[in-house]
């Protein structure tokens, strides 16, 4: 039986002509009323078009069906409509078009610790948060011990939560949410916080929830979590449902590699307008041989490959950091690096003008496979100019061959990395 049926769902937001969300002010309402009155009096009936609000469809024509007990991952870039979809399903906001039918009691967890109050103790917050999530007092009483147990903050139950570490805070909050008695659980990116140990626990709990026959909808940027947890995956792109399949891995790879940018390419060049900013406007981003020539793929692991970043600076800012981030094909971030990683005296000096930044990709480090490389840049501790996994331009690199000269190491080994390590031996007893 279907737990959720979504048909032709759309959500429109209005943006003011300045590009911001429409905000109401009494003074605006009064002045515009006065203006229209003035217009009416002076008999110039025509309004000026520049004040019209612009429409923005956060979701359009989304239809899908989710069966009972399915664990569904929802993926897509920021602004693709994932959160809007979850907000409609959890009845926080209304759709503009379409219809949703939900069978059973749905509980949503869009943020960890919604309504937590810093002045109140852990114990008090369990009750408050439980009630906010829709539990009755009796239900919370019944679950209280299990919640405390799961959270592991027993010793601090009577401490105000403002004194909690962020880890404890998240653990307590998730514990409350995890004990909701609901048929359908809607979860938004909760696992982005908390330590690895706890994330594992959360994933486990969510898997249990799924095995109990409850339906889970899970929005995340963590592709590993999605792959581990979900039995179905929806991909949203610019408010539309781009892909849905029970082959979770294929949706993820489509999302990470191909689907948006067509065939995987190892070069990106600016079409002019994007990332317009005075500090660093990227022009070209590529994997090259070090002299600017595009490197044919795949790259053998013992061959030279250079990151090549060409960009224009119209206003030099000492806080500028440009670099790249490299992701495995599961979407796992391997590392990122900036041109300012060395001591300050060794930074390449950047002033006004067009610059080429180069960095050698360390040979014999990455394993065979395909990687997404994103150009990242920011003003140190101020703003992202191009943020990894959000809006950074990405290119692809494939590594194949050249792993080692050892006769015992001819083919791809498991693991993300394939460094060639040195070994020494000395007779036992002498060391």
């Amino acid at each position: 039986m279907s737990a959720i049926i979504v048909e032709g769902l759309g959500k429109r937001y209005l943006l003011s002509h300045r590009g911001r969300m429409v905000e109401g002010y009494l003074r605006d309402a009064i002045t515009s009323a006065a203006r229209s009155l003035g217009r009416a009096l002076s008999l110039r009936g025509k309004g000026s078009g520049d004040e019209r609000d612009e429409e923005f469809w956060a979701l359009s024509d989304v239809s899908f069906r989710i069966e009972e007990g399915e664990r569904v991952g929802i993926i897509g870039r920021n602004g693709a409509g994932k959160s809007t979809l979850l907000k409609i399903l959890s009845r926080i906001t209304r759709p503009t078009t379409g219809e949703v039918r939900i069978r059973g009691r749905a509980a949503s967890l869009l943020e960890v610790g919604t309504g937590f109050h810093g002045e109140l103790t852990g114990r008090e917050n369990i009750f408050l948060n439980g009630a906010i999530l829709g539990m009755t007092k009796a239900e919370i009483h019944r679950k209280f011990d299990a919640i405390v147990d799961f959270s592991g903050v027993e010793r601090f139950l009577d401490t105000p939560v403002k004194r909690y570490s962020s880890g404890m805070y998240v653990r307590l909050a998730f514990a409350v949410a995890a004990h909701l008695e609901s048929d359908i659980l809607l979860v938004d990116e909760v696992l982005a916080v908390g330590d690895a140990e706890f994330q594992k626990k959360c994933l486990g709990k969510m898997e249990d929830i799924g095995k109990e026959g409850r339906t889970v909808l899970f929005v995340s940027h963590n592709m590993n979590a999605i792959e581990q947890l979900c039995t179905k995956c929806l991909l949203l792109d610019k408010g539309r449902l781009a892909l849905q399949s029970n082959d979770v891995r294929s949706v993820i790879t489509d999302y990470l590699y191909g689907f948006e940018s067509g065939p995987a390419v190892s070069e990106w060049s600016s079409s002019g307008e994007e990332f317009r900013n005075p500090w660093f406007r990227p022009v070209r981003f590529a994997i090259t041989d070090g002299r600017g020539r595009k490197r044919p793929m795949p790259v053998a692991n013992n061959e030279e490959a250079w990151i090549w970043v060409e960009g224009e600076i119209t206003e030099a800012d000492p806080a500028l950091k440009v670099g790249y981030a490299i992701f495995s094909d599961d979407g796992l971030l391997l590392y990122w690096t900036f041109h300012t990683d060395l001591p300050e005296s060794k930074w390449p000096a950047l002033g006004k003008g067009t610059w080429i930044l180069r960095s050698r990709i360390p040979p014999k480090l990455l394993n065979e496979g395909s990687y997404r490389v994103e150009l990242i840049g920011m003003l140190h501790r101020r703003i992202w100019l191009f943020e990894p996994a959000v809006n950074a331009p990405g290119i692809y690199m494939t590594i194949w061959g050249g792993l080692s000269n050892s006769p015992y190491w001819m083919e791809r080994r498991p693991g993300l990395f394939a460094p060639v390590m040195e070994w020494t031996a000395s007779p036992a007893g002498s060391a």
């Binding site: 907000k87 078009t97 069978r103 002045e119």
Partner: protein
């Protein structure tokens, strides 16, 4: 509850009204928790804590007694002037605290509104209860005041709950309007304290409404708080200020209209709260 789980929820651009009140009932525990949170936080956070809800009415009482009773020399009937003023401050204080608290409540709880679903009416109603707690604290002060002046109430005190109910109606009515308006118009936040301030001078808090000329009495009673305050005085001061019944009825009528309109307006705008807040 088990039956409830089997029910199908349909989400559409419009409608779904009958479900609303059932949800409201289901979330009744949230109402008590939110009230409890606000009260607890109010008294835990501020250094003055409980003292604050005592100091305000007492200072106001002293000032009004001096200005209206001593300087202007207005009559107080048979009751001592401080008692006369304080009997009116009880409902006024409740009204002003409740209206400001509930008026600001939606904006203050924006994080809840954008992250969780529940019938939004719970928020301003919960905020109103904070005013009620302050009211109870003030009642204790009033009891002390009566004992000090040896001015004890008679049977009429039994009617206080009726007038309190009316005060709740007025406060909730205006509170809902203001709460919804404040989500829509951000700068309404600055207008609200001003309106409450003006209301204080339009209401017979510092003086007895008996000094209003008879022919203006009904016009004066267009302020629904006039009926509430007169009622409190009549009930608490042994009827030394006679009750002007047309004014009370007018107040009941106006309160019903404001409350009904407030709920309607609130319900109509509620669906867009999460989008605009």
């Amino acid at each position: 509850m088990a039956k409830e789980q089997e029910r199908e929820i349909i989400i559409r651009p419009e409608g779904g009204l009958n479900r609303y009140w059932r949800d409201f009932w289901q979330y009744r525990d949230l109402l008590s928790f939110l009230t409890w949170r606000d009260v607890l936080a109010r008294y835990k956070q501020t250094v003055l804590g409980v003292a604050w809800s005592l100091i305000r009415p007492i200072v106001t009482m002293v000032v009004f007694t001096l200005v209206f009773g001593k300087l202007a020399g207005l009559p107080s009937g048979d009751a001592p002037y401080p008692v006369l003023v304080y009997a009116a401050l009880l409902p006024w204080q409740f009204f002003s605290v409740s209206v400001s608290e509930s008026g600001n409540s939606l904006v203050n709880n924006a994080n809840l509104i954008t992250k969780v679903y529940f019938p939004r009416l719970i928020i301003p109603i919960g905020a109103l209860a904070v005013g009620l707690v302050d009211f109870l604290v003030s009642v204790v002060v009033y009891a002390g005041l009566m004992a000090y002046y040896g001015f004890l109430p008679d049977w009429r005190i039994a009617t206080v709950p009726l007038f309190l109910l009316l005060a709740i109606g007025v406060s909730l009515g205006f509170g809902l309007w203001f709460a919804a308006l404040m989500v829509k118009y951000r700068d309404f936040r600055h207008v609200l304290p001003f309106l409450v301030q003006v209301g204080l001078f339009l209401s017979p808090v510092g003086f007895n409404s008996a000094i209003v000329p008879e022919k203006w009495r009904i016009l004066y009673s267009l302020n629904p708080m006039v009926g509430v305050i007169d009622g409190f005085r009549w009930a608490l001061l042994r009827g030394t200020t006679p009750l002007y019944l047309p004014g009370v009825f007018l107040s009941v009528g106006l309160t019903s209209i404001v409350l009904w309109g407030g709920i309607r307006y609130f319900r109509r705008t509620e669906q867009a709260f999460a989008d605009v807040i």
